[in-house]
Every structure is written in C-alpha cells, then in structure tokens.
C-alpha cells in the first residue's frame, strides 16, 4: 500500500517534505495505526504519537487524506491510495507527525476545566438526578485529540485568542453541569468577540470529531445562554 507522509526534523531539514512509502501489509493490519507501525518497522526514523490504539487516548490525531482523524480508528480499507498523512494543521511541528499542542492546552486550561463548587464537600459524591446527568452526554466524551480545533479556520487565524471548539465544548460541559456554581463567571470569561464569537459555525469541528461530538451545538448553547442572560 502506498503512503505519502510529511516528514520534518527541524534539526536536519530546511523545510518539511513528503516521503513515499510502499509497504506490504499483513492481513492483521486493519487500522491506519497498524500500517504506520508497519512503516516504522521499516523506517524507524518516522515519529508519531500513539498510545491506547483504540480511540480513547487521542494521541494519534493526524491529517489523513486531507481530513483530521485518529489513525487508530481509521480503517485502512476506507482509505484512497496514496494515503497522504500530515501532522495536524495549524500547530507547530515538533517532528514528522508530532505537533506542539501547547497552544491547544493553554486554551483548554483557560476555561477552567473542573467543577467549581464552594459548598462543603459531602461525605460521598455530589449526586445528580439522571435527567441532570443526561445534559452532559455528548460533552464529557471529548478526549482532547485536537482534531476539531486544528480543523477550525478561526483557530488557525487566532489560536492565541479564540478558545476553539474543543475548549468551548469543555466550557459548556461545566456550564451544563448542575454541580458547578460558576456559570456566571464562565459566561463572563467567554463573553468576548475573540474567545467565543470567532466561531462562525463553519462546523469543520463536527465533521472531523472522531468521537462524533458536536462542538457547534455546544457553542450555540453558550451563545443562547448569553443572549438569555443579557437581552
């Protein structure tokens, strides 16, 4: 199977270049990650991140034939040859398919991704009714692979100011949480033409999310809450 993989080692290369690979796959190689590990057995200089190999850790996010996705849950049989692999767009390349996610996590941390509750902690957990808990479905499943934010043009142009789809989905996850008491502070923090309103509902995030989540919907709900609060 033919692959075109973007290679870049800042210590050696002037600029990134594509390297072609023609690899004989084994019948047990079903996912793109299997193929990449096969390539690595031939050319161990290829650098990539991977860990759980089942779409849970979010390490092996990359641009696959022009679309962001996780190599470990992308079926080889669905891919058109040559398979063009690039690192996630918009973030600095550390080496080959590995990008520097600092900016991405900085935005994620800026929304305070934890429950803020000033009450005395109870003896056991803070309980929720099943209906309240249902609100978190489609929000808590995010694995922070960065496929969405790095597919978002608004995040490409303003990664330092725009929180991005992953961060905003997480923000809404805590806004929607009945145990969280900082809803107003969270809305205040996001009420900004750059932090939230750079989202132009392009919906690339929804298109690429390997977990099938919908950041656009969550962002829409944050905007709706802001209008309800202010109008």
């Amino acid at each position: 199977m033919k692959f075109n993989i973007l290679r870049y080692d800042p210590d050696q290369d002037q600029k990134p270049y594509f390297k072609e690979y023609d690899i004989a796959l084994e019948p047990s190689d079903r996912m793109l990650l299997d193929a990449l590990i096969r390539i690595k057995s031939v050319d161990d200089t290829l650098a990539l991140r991977r860990s759980c190999r089942e779409g849970v850790c979010g390490s092996d996010a990359m641009n696959i034939n022009g679309k962001n996705g996780l190599a470990c849950v992308t079926k080889i049989s669905d891919l058109k040859e040559p398979v063009v692999l690039k690192p996630l767009p918009g973030l600095p390349i550390i080496r080959d398919l590995i990008v520097d996610m600092t900016q991405f996590f900085k935005q994620y941390h800026s929304i305070k991704p934890f429950v803020i509750n000033h009450d005395t902690p109870p003896e056991t957990e803070r309980l929720q009714s099943p209906t309240d808990r249902l609100e978190l479905d489609g929000l808590y499943e995010c694995i922070l692979c960065a496929c969405c934010s790095t597919a978002c043009p608004s995040f490409w142009w303003n990664p330092d100011k725009f929180v991005g789809p992953a961060g905003l989905l997480a923000a809404y996850r805590f806004i929607a949480d009945t145990r969280d008491q900082a809803t107003n502070e969270r809305l205040d923090n996001l009420e900004d033409p750059y932090r939230l309103f750079r989202c132009h509902t392009i919906m690339n995030c929804v298109d690429v999310c390997p977990k099938g989540l919908n950041p656009s919907l969550a962002i829409g709900k944050i905007k709706e809450m802001m209008v309800k609060r202010g109008v």
Binding site: W157, D160, D188, N189, E191, D192, F197, H200, V227, G230
Partner: protein, 120 residues
Amino acid sequence: MVSITKTDKQPVGAHYGWREWLAQRVTAVIMALFAIIIFGFFVIKSEISYQDWKALFGSQLFRVLALLFLISVYYHAWIGVRDVLMDYIKPTAIRVTLQVMVILSLVSFTIWSIAILWAQ
C-alpha cells in the same frame, strides 16, 4: 543556562459580542422579509413600468420599510466585515483604521440612502 523569554499577557473578556451576534441574525431576518415583499411586488406586477416603480416608492410606508432594509444591510455588513478584519488583520492600528473606514462608509451610505429615498 536558563533562558527567559518574553511573555505576552493575553487579556481576555472584552465583555461584548452577543449583541452583535444577535443583531446579525435579526438584520438577516429583516432583509429576508423585505426581499419577500419585493419579490411579491415583482410577481403581482409581471411588467413593471416607471410609473409602478414611482408609485411604490411614493408611499411613505414603503420608503420607511426600504430604509429599514438598507440600515439592516449596512449593520449586517458592518458586523460581517468587522469579523473578517478581526479574523485576518493582526496589527491593531491597521485593523482600527480599516474599521473606521468601513464605519464611515456605511454611515455615509445611510445618509445617502435617506437622500435617495426622500428625493423630490
């Protein structure tokens, strides 16, 4: 050796945004409604003469509706162009200059629109 790099503080929370976001949607609805009215006029009068057109704009109500439509266009355009400038133009001085130029143009268009609609 410890290298200390320059840290850029990124203040956040300009505390505006949703009004513009809502206004863009409201103005879009106004433009759509006016477009339907105009389209209706074209359907009813299959052949439009100068007299028909003059009679339509002779009505005070229609002039007000047309002005509301045009103001919606300009306000909608302001938010849209402002967004484009915020997306792509990084240096603050250039962005502000361009934004002021857009505002001045749109305000001029508004005054000009009034002059045209109420011209004798």
